[in-house]
Every structure is written in C-alpha cells, then in structure tokens.
Subunit: 458 residues, 2 copies
Amino acid sequence: MNSAASNELKSPLEKISKEETLRLRDIHIGKNCTVFFKSSGALKIVRGEKQYLFDENNVPFLDCINNVAHVGHCHPHVVDAGHRQMQLLSTNSRYLHDNLVLYAQRLQRYFPPQLSVVYFLNSGSEANDLAMRLAKAKTGNKDVICVQGAYHGHLQSTVSISPYKFNRIKGYKQKKSVHVAPLPCSYRGKYQRSQIKDESVDIGKLYADEVGAIIENLRSNQRGLACFICESLVSCGGQFPLPQNYLKYVYQYVREAGGVCIADEVQTGFGRVGSEFWAFRLQDVVPDIVTIGKPIGNGHPIACVVTTQEIARAFEAQGAEYFNTYGGNPVSVAIANAVLDVIENENLQQHALDVGQYLIEELCKIQRRRPLIGDVRGTGLFVGIDLVKNRVTKEPASDEALYVSRRFKEEHCLVSTEGEWNNVLKLKPPMVFTKANVDTICELLDKFLEELTHPNEV
Amino acid sequence: MNSAASNELKSPLEKISKEETLRLRDIHIGKNCTVFFKSSGALKIVRGEKQYLFDENNVPFLDCINNVAHVGHCHPHVVDAGHRQMQLLSTNSRYLHDNLVLYAQRLQRYFPPQLSVVYFLNSGSEANDLAMRLAKAKTGNKDVICVQGAYHGHLQSTVSISPYKFNRIKGYKQKKSVHVAPLPCSYRGKYQRSQIKDESVDIGKLYADEVGAIIENLRSNQRGLACFICESLVSCGGQFPLPQNYLKYVYQYVREAGGVCIADEVQTGFGRVGSEFWAFRLQDVVPDIVTIGKPIGNGHPIACVVTTQEIARAFEAQGAEYFNTYGGNPVSVAIANAVLDVIENENLQQHALDVGQYLIEELCKIQRRRPLIGDVRGTGLFVGIDLVKNRVTKEPASDEALYVSRRFKEEHCLVSTEGEWNNVLKLKPPMVFTKANVDTICELLDKFLEELTHPNEV
C-alpha cells in the first residue's frame, strides 16, 4: 500500500486523511464506542443534506436509519434558527426567555390537555432518568416495570431498565427494583399470532396480563409500583409495534396499583408513525409522562419530559430545585421550534404516512416471493424486516441480515440491523424519504435476497 | 396597573411581553425549575455579549456568575464555528469524523499523557454518571465516597452522590453504597485553621484521614470501594479550594484500597483557576478519571469523560457498546474546539490569573474594614466571599448575603449565593471579566455592606 497516497485528503472538508482519522480514533476513543461497518470498512462522512450523507469522496449514501435527522440533514430553516439564536443569547433557564415558554406552549398543543408541564433536558437518557424520578416522587415507590427488548438510554439508571442493553453486559446483576415483562411482540414473543389462530383471542391483553401478574407479585411481596415504562413502538428490541390493546390494559393495571405510566417517545415521536403525531396514540391511551428526544432538535442535543400538573407538584413537593444547566437554553429551544415549523410546513407527518404505506406495501410484495422475509412490520417511517431461516420456526437469519446490510452499504444505502439476534433490518429514515427512495431500497433488497438464495450465481 | 401597558413589548427581541412570559412559565414549566430573583423580580434576558447580559429594556447586567459562558456570551468565533458545522453535518459518532478525533487529540495535550481516552457526552451530569460506571467496571465494586457539600449533577445517580442536593430532598434516603466524607474546608469544616493554630498541622491530611477512616470501615464490613469523586474546588457547597495535600493523601488511600480517583472539573476546568488549566493540578495529583462540562462548549450541550486506557479497557471488557446519540457530534465538537481556540488566542488563563489575583486583593481590602466578610477565598476567577454575623462563631449571615445579591441586581450586577446556608457570595464570571469590572463590584459590595452596617442611614 502506498502510504503517501493513503494519507492524501480526498475532500476540502477533510482536515486529515481517513487513515489518520481511524488511527486517532483508535488511540483516543473508547473501543466500545463502535463504528458502523467497522469490519467491512468504516465510513467517513463529511456532509449531510436531506436524506443523504456524503463521504470524503463526495459519494452520497441514502440514509435509511437516522431518525435523529428527522426533517433531513442540515435543514436550512433549522440551521438558520440555531445560528440566529446563537448570535443573540445562550444561557440557562433561571432567566426568563420567550423561546422556552413559547415552545412549551406550542408543544403542549400536540398533547392531550392534561399533559401540560414540560421539563427541558439534553438527551433522551436524561429524559427517561427524570421520568423515573418524577414517578418515584409521585408514588413514593421505587419499583419499575419495563419490557424485554427495551432500550431507554445509556445512563446507569436507564441501562437498569434496558434489557436490550444490560443483557449484553457481562456479569450484570439486574436490580431488585426492576421487573421485566415479556417482549410484547405478536410475531416473536411468548404469544404469537401464528400460534394463536383464533382471531378473537386478544394478544394485547395476554401480554398486558403478564404485566398484571408482575404487579400482583409485587403486591404479594409488599412492594409498591413506581411506574411502567415502554417505548411506544419497540425499537432496538426489533422494530415492532405493540399489539393492539396492550397499553390500554397495562395502563389500567398500573393505575389500579397506584403506578405511573411512562411512554418513551424518544425514537417514535414527531409524526414518524404517520397516522399520529405520537405513537402512544396508536394504542388509544394517555400516558402520565411522555419522554421525547432524538428528532426534537434534528440532532441538536435537546430532550423533554412532558407530564401532568399533579406529577409536577409531587416533584416540587420534594423541596429541591431541579436545575439542568443547558436544558431549555434559548438556542436548543429555537432549534426545536424550527423543527416543528418544518414538520408542519412540509407536511411531514402526512408524508411519512404516504411513503410509509408505500414502503410496507412494496416490502410485502417482496416478502411474497422471498421466504427469508419472515415479517414486515411497522407504521409510517418506522419499519422492521424480520429475516428468518425458516418461516415456521422463525429461526433468526442473523448472518443473512448482516450480509444484506453490508451489501446495502456497498450500494450506498445505510441500513442497519436490530433485535436480540440482529436479524431485523431497520428502516427509520429522515422524514423527507421519498417513494423513489423506497423503490431504490426495495429493488436492492430483492437483489440481495436473490444473491442469498443463489449464492453461486452472484 | 395598566395591563395594556404591561403587555407592551419593550424590545424587538421580544415575542411576548415579560408578563406573558411569566404567565406561560407558570403554566408550563415545573415550579422547582427556579428563576433567579423570583421574589424581588425575575429578569428577562434577551441578549448576551462578552460578560454582559441585556434585559428587554436593553439594560446591561454585569454577569459575575456564569461560568458556562466561559469565553464570553455569544463569542463570534464560537458562534461561527458552530454555524459552519451545522450547515455541513451533525450526526452521530458511528461514522468517522475529523472533528471528534482531532478534538480528543487536542484535549489530551492539556492532560498528563496517561489520561488519553475521551468519551463525549451532553452534560456534566452524564459525564459524572459515566465516570461512576467506568469506576465500577474497573473495580467490580459499587461503593462511592463523595464529600459533604458536593454537587455532581441532576440525574438519579449523581444526585445520590450530591449531599448539597439530596439533603434538600424531603424524605431522601441516602444510598447504602454512598459514603459522605466531611466538608474539606479549612474555614468552615470539622478542622478549621482558625482553631488549629499550629501551622505544622496538615489540615489537608486531617481531612484525608477522614476518607481513610471511611475506607477502613468499608474494609472491615467487607465492602469494596469503586471510587472517590470530588470537585477540584467545591462549588455549590460554598466556593472553596481544597486544603493543601488533601487529594494527595486521599488518592493514596483510595488507590491502596483498589479504588478509582475521579476529579469533577465540570465547574473548574479550562483555565478558570488561572495558575493551572485544570484545578486538580493545584493539588499536584493525577486523577484516573476527569469529568469536564459547562465551559467546554460555552453553553452548547457537550461534556467529556477523560480517562486511562486501562479503565477504558475494563469498560470495553463488559462487552456492551456505549452509544450516546448526540455525544461527539461534529457540531458540538466544532464548538468545543473553537472555545479552546479562544482560550488560547485571547490568553484567557493568564487573564483569569491576573484579574483573579486583583479581585482577591481588592476583596481582602474590603474584608479588613467590613466584619461581615468572614472569609475571602478562591483562585483565579473562582471566588467565594463568606459572610458571617460574627467572625469568631462564623455564624452564617444568610439574610445579609441575600440582601447583597439583591442590591447587586438593582445595580445591574448578577451575583448569587452558595453554600449550605446560602451565605457565600459567588463570583465565577465569564473569563473576559476585567479589572474595571472588579472595581465596579468591589465598590458596590463595600457600599452594600455599609448599608447593612448602618441601615437607618440608607
């Protein structure tokens, strides 16, 4: 290898060569901060625009996974709003500022009226941590119920309620105050639609009853329930919607036990599911606390906890100030406000509905001829493709999923895998994703599955 | 009151009147998210520049407390760097990017060589949470020693090691795994220089021996030590430097017990103390983990954990990925890099040393004629003025401190109070604070103390 050539800069947007970037990363960045496609060749990305990321050779990659760049990478309206406010003021919320209260008021209009108090933070992890604190303040209890496959953040407290994460930590001891309900998935969980043929059986209620049993068990052990927390669609756990009626019954059981219901909308909010602005609405429930993050600032570090006056008062009654240095600073909130502008002005929720429906339809067509696709699921631009070696046993086709995601990368599309066995292809692109983009990835997917079916002919 | 008049906008930078801002805040923001000067009249701030904040009437307030706006509010070099990067790319660190690794490399040059691995996060709270996780991964132990008066953040995990915070939460039960060492303050703690006249007695060692006793106690109870965490100057707890030799002995005891030493530099880093870039250097020690935040991004949400390869490897060995969605995104890091540019180009560390020395000298002059000032302490632009009713008993003069901070506000200077009794006037201004600013506040302080001494003559 010609090392002089490899150290050449490929783009005016590079300061050092890709080789050097890799070398410094190896020295200074923790190795469990992983890089996509490390083994097949990490990508160096220097620019983003709409649903595209560009590498140092100015090659565009179709971004099918970045739900953070919600309204598209580097949306000029969002960038301008941030820039204008950065020039004027960025300070903490101990001073009055219009941005903070106007955004809180605007955000509240997207929620049922009882969810009227907003806390501002910097990340979804911080939001879920605060949500638990609020629930504990409200109930005086400590016990938390989460679901198998859940991911709620990288903090100690949120890892403790994230089986998707803590099951991968060697020697991790599950907290006594954390209780894990079965994965509420009708394709792959304890109760599967393929096994329960009788359509009158309510699978959502079967899964909810599992939560009920945990609550019953807590009661018989004289333990009080603080809260139940669940992503409104399970994300890292395998990209699946909750079975119908699940939250309706769970919330009933939790409230009967005096607990608080938390909806984690960090990955699912802001119109992504198309038919609703928040994914919990798909279940026809009203949570007591909703946490929002990722898409809220299109990549800028901001998150919120939205709750009721009653819960806010219980938190206040503890007597201590809640202060978050950066939380709700005028720049973060200006950016979040601009994101809402774009969602509204560009009609992105309706767009997610239309493109998402088309995506599901096209994927289902492929599924009919490709036995590797066990399940196509999701809503709006939140879709999972569950690859299986066998449609009856549903044995996860993990190697095949890895192959497909690598081939996508070679064809300049970014698609990654999720779920316990990393066999679920994840699609949650920026909301500006088009039907033409759908055609591109469906055509490629079909081709890659053909390659897997007839490997020798490739 | 003329309500029409009160709803008038005073500034083109306002979108709603101050009255309306207050009204909406009351509805939508949790009441334990407190506002400065609530009872004497909250401030609405619409603009910031250098060490000044401007209210809706365009009245400048001299900012003596905002250590986050480290290089001055809205510094154009920092704003430009953020804006340029926002236009290009803001995505997560699973793709290679020059900003991340170049900043990590640059930051490392400010540390001893063994502190070479950097984790990127969004807040000081997140940083302290991760620091504890790293310590637990390294040692396999859970117990943490912190100090009385400590504040390490707003998360559940960081509140649990923040006596300054948890002592104010009604019914809070201290965790069994958290052990609080006495406030290491030679003015107000268990061992006071005013009581131990023999200068040969090492007060730092006396306080360190208290930590040693906790470790001894852990050992006899078969409990293992994960870490000792301490702000390098105690901030909320009363704005005081650690006694000489304190950390040297503490680190020795902690390491003998197999524990990890964490320096919380969130409030004290980046040259604020003048003579050193990091405040832990004042104690001539090398921590195993350093957490940095607030000043790092001049208000933009970013924080870092800096540690050794050995500790990073122990974290990696747990087998799970560490992923922080916004952590180390190219915009946050571009901003942090620009902050370092300004600190270097404007020679702000030396400036903090010069202005800080002048500040302490001028305050000591006032102390000589004002018995209310019990103690003037600090280093660089991190200064505390401990007001007492009686110099011998050191009874905290809390009401007087509140009076002084309100009077400062009336004269358009922002000074707040800290410490268990809120009797310590806090000065940690943006680093561009000048000697003329020092003259302003010293003149005012003297006047306010005169008012307190002869209240009838005011």
